[in-house]
Symmetry: C2
Subunit: 338 residues, 2 copies
């Protein structure tokens, strides 16, 4: 009577209902034939005892439908959105998700990977991290656990990326169309694909519209935090010629830029047009700023589908899936005065 943790077990239900465990199982899983009377008795017993099957016993017997998800801890709401998207896509496919947030503590990756293998996950999704120590990847590979990367990823692997080039391109183009010729860029210089694509999208949009890129207008910072945006903006504003519009490769950078502009008393959008990227905090700034939105739900869905597909065809060629962006207009890009 009662299992080690004090919970009733299947045998208890069976005894109370006066049937065999098999019958209990059939009632619970709604398969096989059970007489109406026995079904009654079993359901009654389950209720009376508050019986809930032991997941671990089930898992040991039948395997599990589990997907592991590693996320970067970040104050950025984008990750919360992707996390939600992955949760929902997995649930929808009948998988459970085991989420692990990476805080950057030592030994963390190793612990997470071991945990995933120990739990025999069917696959792993890695969001926004972009790399994992090689031995850990090897470990996953040996355990034949497919991996799909979201947003940041190594080369030659299954991944779902944001079309950052197109996103940036269209954002900058929208500024050009509004009449801007002196558009500054605040972003990062990381060597990673995400950052390269955004910068390239900016440069290409200028070039394709007959505007010569000007290195003075490109501020490449070390971090996406607001203070970087603030410093970049200060540099841009205190130098000549001033830009008439600024594109920030992340909302947080524009957010920092606006802190500078507030104290410099530069009025937005009258004196300066602004465009952010990722559409996270842009909405809550004063004023709310144009930004490039991400289809998080689509990223999640595509990642899970790719993962399950790869599980079926482990030997296939790695795929890269691109997810589009969407310009959100909040009125901070207007015709420049001069």
């Amino acid at each position: 009577m009662k299992d080690a943790s004090g919970n009733p077990k299947m045998a208890d239900v069976a005894r109370l209902a006066g049937v065999s465990q098999t019958t209990v199982g059939r009632v619970i899983h709604k398969n096989g034939y059970v007489s109406a009377e026995n079904r009654q008795r079993v359901e009654e017993a389950v209720r009376k005892l508050g019986y809930v099957p032991n997941t671990m016993a089930q898992g040991l017997k039948n395997g599990v439908q589990l997907i592991g998800h590693i996320l970067q801890f970040s104050p950025n709401m984008l990750f919360a959105q992707i996390s939600r998207a992955v949760d929902e896509a997995c649930t929808q496919k009948g998988y459970q998700v085991l989420n692990f947030t990476k805080y950057g503590l030592p030994g963390e990756d190793e612990r997470i990977v071991t945990e995933f293998i120990g739990r025999r996950v069917s696959g792993v999704i890695i969001t926004s991290i972009g790399r994992l120590e090689a031995p850990l990847l090897k470990k996953l590979e040996r355990a034949r656990i497919p991996v799909v990367w979201i947003e940041r990823a190594p080369e030659h692997c299954d991944r779902v990326l944001l079309d950052d080039h197109a996103g940036t391109y269209s954002a900058v183009e929208s500024m050009i169309k509004a009449g801007h010729r002196k558009i500054a860029y605040i972003g990062l210089d990381s060597g990673q694909s995400v950052e390269k694509l955004r910068l390239q999208g900016y440069r290409d949009a200028l070039r394709d519209n007959g505007i010569a890129p000007d290195r003075q207008m490109e501020k490449l910072m070390e971090s996406y935090q607001p203070p970087s945006g603030c410093r970049a903006m200060a540099d841009l504003w205190e130098k000549c010629p001033r830009p008439t519009g600024v594109f920030g490769a992340a909302d947080t950078l524009i957010c920092g830029a606006m802190q500078y502009l507030y104290q410099a008393e530069v009025k937005i959008p009258t004196e300066l047009s602004l465009m952010g990227y990722d559409n996270t905090v842009s909405e809550i700034l004063s004023p709310p700023v144009n930004s490039v939105g991400i289809h998080a739900a689509e990223m999640g869905r595509k990642a899970v589908e790719l993962l399950l597909r790869r599980r079926e065809a482990p030997e296939g060629e790695p795929e890269t899936l691109w997810v589009g962006t969407e310009l959100v207009d909040r009125g901070t890009v207007v015709k420049p005065i001069k």
Copy 2:
């Protein structure tokens, strides 16, 4: 050879090393006596096979050290902070955390609770939700799973609350000390303790300083979203007498208020002093705003400790633990002009 999911199992390691499973177990758990030579052989075999013990088999045999955590999905960084705090406190106590985010979908609570019981968690932490359907609580109770609530909670239960009265009181008092007498309040009117305490803290601070509360200065809204703050601020500013300072019961409300103030061209803090609450987005606004910070790590730690204590003494009286706050000054509360 190989388990159902294709992973090597203990027997495989034992065979390869030419020893018994028992010996493998001893090497893995570093207990019992194993000859240096056998230890070598086992370690070698583990490495060679990439063996990782099956968590479910271990759990079935030995039980698990698991704590379930339910969080409200919310764009508010506060929850990410608490989540992290709970993660770290649990890990530190040797427990694993099973996080579930509640998105507000139908049937969700039921699924989460069943999942927790099925996994035989040692306890459940519920952050910022404040209530759960009674049958579900009963279910947890029957399974003898202790519950600790964080930030929002029913009466008579184990909980870790923020000292919202003191937090608000000290914030408002700091404005009074700066010379303000006309301080408006933007908050919520929910009937829940959190909202009542904040409003009461505000009123008490005024009263204790000889300022008669003025209902015109209290804007009680329906949501913490920025648009509420914006509407409230518009009301306050377009009516006489105008406040010289505004306290927002959440950073997001102040954030909305600032959107109004920006377009009304009210300069902060010269024309109006501002104070937020929860210290989340206040830092990234233009200008960065004073706010009341929460000790998230302390909340997490206290919650886990209380949970484990309750596990040992299930029959004890419910405890309410209070966590203090901390005023963060960013220069948006200054002496009023008039």
